[in-house]
């Protein structure tokens, strides 16, 4: 980190290097800038949404080295040398929707879409950890994210469907490599 002192509002600026959605990024920003603001304003990744700025709603959830974190509760400078995955980075390299993204489309797991990125990142990490969840586990997995539109019924269904799609695709790719 290189420090470049600014005297204006007493903001110290730092250069931060991190990997976002697989790409190395370097950004100079005030040390008090939250990770969500840095992603949205400095890196132009506006898919991450800010719903409460106090870590309760989960809309701003991103993956830090694969683990869900609230990007509103984390300073961007703390992400130095880490891997950050946002909703934009969930899409498959070939442009296909990820299992979780596809599941939310299939199951009508979103309405206004504002909380959705936080659910998508959370669920993506969850089905990696638990590829075969029960309905209770699926509900528990999204238990820390608020949604005001869907009443969660179709979100829980989406979690289960995401796990199914992940398995289907794993089978497809195994079959593909056998052929």
């Amino acid at each position: 980190m290189t420090s470049t002192d600014h005297t204006d509002v007493g903001e110290q600026h730092l250069e931060v290097r991190l990997r976002v959605n697989g790409m190395p990024r370097r950004v100079e920003l005030p040390v008090r800038r939250t990770l969500c603001d840095a992603l949205r304003q400095d890196l132009g990744l506006t898919g991450t949404h800010v719903g409460c700025e106090h870590g309760v709603c989960g809309a701003c959830t991103v993956l830090l080295d694969g683990e869900p974190v609230r990007s509103c509760l984390m300073l961007a400078v703390s992400a130095e040398d880490h891997d950050v995955t946002t909703v934009e980075g969930l899409t498959e390299p070939d442009g296909r929707l990820s299992p979780t993204q596809q599941a939310f489309v299939d199951c009508h797991g979103l309405q206004c879409g504002f909380c959705t990125p936080g659910f998508l990142t959370t669920v993506s990490a969850f089905i990696e950890e638990n590829p075969d969840p029960t309905p209770e586990e699926a509900r528990e997995a999204v238990g820390g994210n608020l949604c005001r539109c869907t009443g969660y019924q179709n979100i829980v269904a989406s979690v289960l469907r995401a796990a199914e799609i992940q398995k289907e695709r794993a089978t497809e790719s195994t079959e593909g490599s056998d052929a």
Partner: protein
């Protein structure tokens, strides 16, 4: 994809964009040059402003400007508009874009700071010194009604309005009824609480003298009108664009919010883009709340439970200002009637000022309160008479052959309360089956044998949806064959792009995937009212259908010339116009669009056919654009109904209450819903799911914890308990009835608010049924239930009056009015006989 997609549960076209981070919400707009606004908000509920000192704030580097009311002039300095005047609204008061001299609720905007980023803007806002003379606030309905302290010295009794509506002689009908009961029902505040707060981004083009405003609103045309008036611009100088909006639920129909005036005002002054994004605490203390009402009911009924007379008095808390008029209490007082028609009815509401955040519609908009009072009254009538709660309702239902039903009352749209269609007995029978009403006593007995306590509750409602005055739609066939559709209403997650594409695909006969819909953009469609009162599908859907029919008619007429056929012999199949049953004759509608616009200059291969030497046979007696025709294949039409259309539904819920901890759990939730013809059942069910979740929040968790000083003590998601997945029912059983509306071309009724309306009534009834303790005040927490248990002054374990049981019947003695007639009070013994 099929063109007959109307009625199919097709997947939403919005979703691929929204799940990949490609949504565009208002805070996503802007760049490094954009300036950021932050607002200084009063920490006092009621105070006079002695002085505002902005100098410390100005000294901070990065601060561009600090503005107060003193900087405003002309219409900008005048009070914000009273959006919906009403003859009974005798003492209206609205706020200012920035407070002038006084503040009337915590969170009211006092000054605006503009800075290079939001962090600096907030630093500076904290440095603005405001000298307040703090006054004693009025908080709570009972205090407001007592009027020992006034919110405004010149408004006696704190009352903005006292309004009465009636049919028949309700007082006499109650007085002369065989049985009479009286109750007070009490509903607490909640709020819409969309996941995205409000937000505004303003851009002023000094060369074109044109303002473009992106705002998270439910009415882009409303904001356009208000902003142009408040900023002294012509309407044509203002465009309002509503991008993706992260939920509304009513709060974003209010306009102009102070920020919708101040942000563009600053952008014009500074010649720079200015944006403001509401944070969560700001949303709690400066956006609108709803729900708080006290409803006093006097009811007179006969031995069958038929309501002969009903008198209702409502105290309504509208907060510090009343820009949205009397819509909420009018809804409560008219929609209270639900699927019933009492012999005579009188309702009086008093709309009261308090030093709290203003109250404007939140999904349901007064209906949950009215329905709560009516449905709970039905429960108590049943209990008093020892009758089945469904039977008492059935005795009061308006019958299918009674429609249309005109109550002789005025609805919130200023037109008669007139039900267009419905089938309430059928709803009740479907609900009976869906929830297992007749089997519940076995469930209760089984639970009891395990030491568990369960109860069942009901709630019926009728909802006036799709109020006017009008909406419009524009449908245009492009030369590519794609169909572009625009309507003025905005979208906040309802799937309008999908549902309207289904309508156009079906009406026009084109593939669903070829229809592209734009909503809420005054650049595309300038005449509109807005998205509220479950009106989007009914109003814009109908207008778009009418426009699509006009396009179809012209398409067939133009194609008939080209095909030398009679328009009546043509059809459109998958976007191709052909002689009925003969695909070999097919011409794409894109080609028809080419032919519809006679050209001098070709721009591509297809357009050559429309040039003067490039086409087919020409009738030289006619001009290229025939009289009555116009170039281009597009049409606009409007839909303006004489009355609202009335959707209906019924909910039933089974709850379990923990005998020790008083924890309340929902075991089963059932909804029967009638919104007429469904455009997309998947979307309708999603709306119901979301509404029920908000209803559960309002019934069990959500309050606005104002203290006596007018401080909102729970203004965060840490303390305002919005349901997570763990708080909602694990499943919601839904059944549909489709009673078409005769009022619109598609037979549809609104569905957006349905899920939330009877939820508190049903859950309260279920808890009451489980506990045998009167439940009056909602929401109810486990600790409140625990306290009610302890306070219950009943000698015996008090349980329900469901058929087939020998349980003890209770009636709150205080609620029983003196018997008037000689009709005997039904005794427990006769009740048992009746049940035998």
């Amino acid at each position: 994809m099929s063109t007959r997609s109307f009625g199919e549960p097709v997947k939403r076209v919005e979703d691929p964009r929204l799940v990949t981070g490609k949504g565009r919400y208002v805070d996503d707009i802007g760049d490094d040059r954009t300036l950021h606004a932050a607002f200084v908000r009063t920490p006092h509920a009621r105070a006079r402003i002695r002085d505002i000192d902005p100098y410390d704030a100005y000294e901070l580097e990065g601060v561009v400007a600090v503005y107060t009311w003193d900087d405003l002039s002309g219409p900008t300095a005048e009070p914000l508009p009273l959006l919906i005047p009403h003859p009974d609204l005798t003492h209206p008061r609205t706020g200012y874009a920035l407070a002038k001299d006084a503040v009337n609720h915590v969170g009211e905007a006092v000054a605006m700071v503009i800075a290079r980023d939001r962090y600096v803007a907030e630093d500076a806002a904290a440095l603005v010194k405001v000298d307040y003379e703090v006054l004693k606030p009025v908080v709570g309905l009972r205090k407001a009604a007592a009027a020992e302290e006034l919110v405004y010295d010149d408004i006696p009794g704190n009352a903005a309005a006292v309004s009465t509506q009636a049919y028949g002689d309700a007082a006499s009908a109650v007085a002369e009824a065989p049985h009479r009961l009286t109750f007070e029902w009490d509903i607490e505040r909640s709020a819409c609480m969309p996941m995205e707060g409000k937000g505004v981004h303003a851009r002023w083009d000094a060369h074109e003298e044109k303002l473009t405003l992106w705002t998270a609103t439910q009415t882009s045309t409303g904001v356009r009108g208000a902003v142009s008036a408040k900023l002294g611009l012509e309407l044509t100088q203002v465009d309002v664009v509503t991008p993706d909006v992260g939920g509304g639920f009513g709060v974003k129909i209010v306009h102009p919010w102070p920020e919708e005036i101040m942000v563009p005002w600053a952008a014009i002054r500074l010649g720079r883009d200015v944006k403001w994004t509401e944070d969560r605490r700001e949303h709690f203390v400066s956006s609108a709340h709803e729900r708080a009402q006290l409803l006093t009911v006097q009811v007179g009924f006969d031995d069958d439970g038929r309501v002969l007379g009903l008198e209702v008095d409502i105290l309504h808390d509208h907060g510090a200002y009343i820009p949205y008029g009397l819509i909420v209490p009018i809804n409560a007082s008219t929609q209270l009637l639900g699927p019933y028609r009492p012999g005579a009815y009188r309702v009086t509401f008093t709309s009261l000022y308090t030093n709290t955040v203003l109250v404007t519609p939140y999904r349901g908009a007064g209906r949950p309160q009215g329905v709560y009072a009516m449905e709970r009254t039905m429960d108590r009538i049943a209990q008093y008479l020892g009758k089945d709660r469904l039977d008492v309702r059935a005795a009061n239902f308006i019958q299918p052959e009674d429609f249309p039903v005109d109550f002789g009352l005025m609805f919130q749209d200023g037109r008669p309360l007139r039900y267009d269609s419905g089938n309430y007995p059928a709803l009740a029978e479907k609900l009976r089956t869906l929830v297992g009403w007749d089997e519940f006593e076995k469930i209760r007995a089984d639970a009891r044998a395990e030491g568990r306590q369960v109860g069942i509750g009901l709630g019926f409602y009728v909802e006036g949806t799709g109020p006017g005055p009008y909406e419009g739609g524009h449908v245009q066939v492009l030369t590519s064959g794609k169909v572009k559709v625009a309507t003025g209403i905005t979208s906040q997650g309802q799937g309008h792009q999908t549902a309207f594409a289904q309508i156009v695909a079906t009406e026009l006969g084109v593939p669903f995937s070829d229809v592209i819909v734009t909503t809420g953009d005054t650049r595309r469609f300038g005449y509109s009212v807005g998205t509220f009162a479950s009106r989007g599908a009914v109003m814009s859907g109908s207008a778009i259908a009418l426009a699509a029919r006009k396009v179809k008619e012209r398409t067939l007429r133009l194609a008939a010339d080209a095909l030398e056929a009679d328009p009546g012999d043509l059809e459109i199949v998958e976007g191709m116009v052909q002689v009925k049953g003969d695909p070999s004759t097919a011409v794409g509608i894109g080609t028809v669009a080419v032919l519809s616009n006679p050209l001098r200059y070709a721009f591509d291969e297809a357009s050559k056919a429309a040039t003067q030497f490039g086409g087919g046979p020409v009738d030289y007696a006619k001009p290229p654009v025939a009289p009555g025709e116009k170039p281009g294949l597009d049409e606009t039409d409007y839909y303006s109904p004489p009355y609202s259309t009335f959707a209906a539904g019924a909910h039933a819920v089974i709850v379990e209450t923990d005998p020790e901890t008083a924890e309340i759990s929902i075991l089963k939730y059932a909804v029967v819903h009638d919104c007429g013809k469904m455009i997309n059942p998947r979307i309708v069910e999603g709306q119901i799911h979301g509404g029920v979740a908000q209803g559960v929040g309002g019934a069990l968790y959500e309050i606005m914890a104002y203290d006596e000083a007018g401080q909102l003590a729970n203004a965060s998601f840490m303390d305002f308990l919005m349901p997570y997945a763990s708080e909602v029912p694990t499943s919601i059983d839904i059944d549909h009835l489709e009673t078409p509306s005769p009022l619109n071309p598609l037979g549809i009724k609104g569905a957006g608010e349905a899920g939330v309306i009877p939820t508190s009534a049903a859950i309260a009834a279920a808890i009451e049924d489980a506990e045998g303790i009167p439940i009056v005040r909602m929401p109810i927490s486990p600790s409140e239930l625990f306290d009610l248990r302890r306070a219950a002054a009943y000698p015996e374990p008090l349980v329900n009056t469901m058929p087939g049981t020998e349980s003890v019947r209770w009636v709150d003695p205080a609620s029983v009015l003196p018997e008037h007639s000689s009709a005997a009070t039904p005794a427990a013994s006769t009740e048992s006989e009746a049940r035998a």
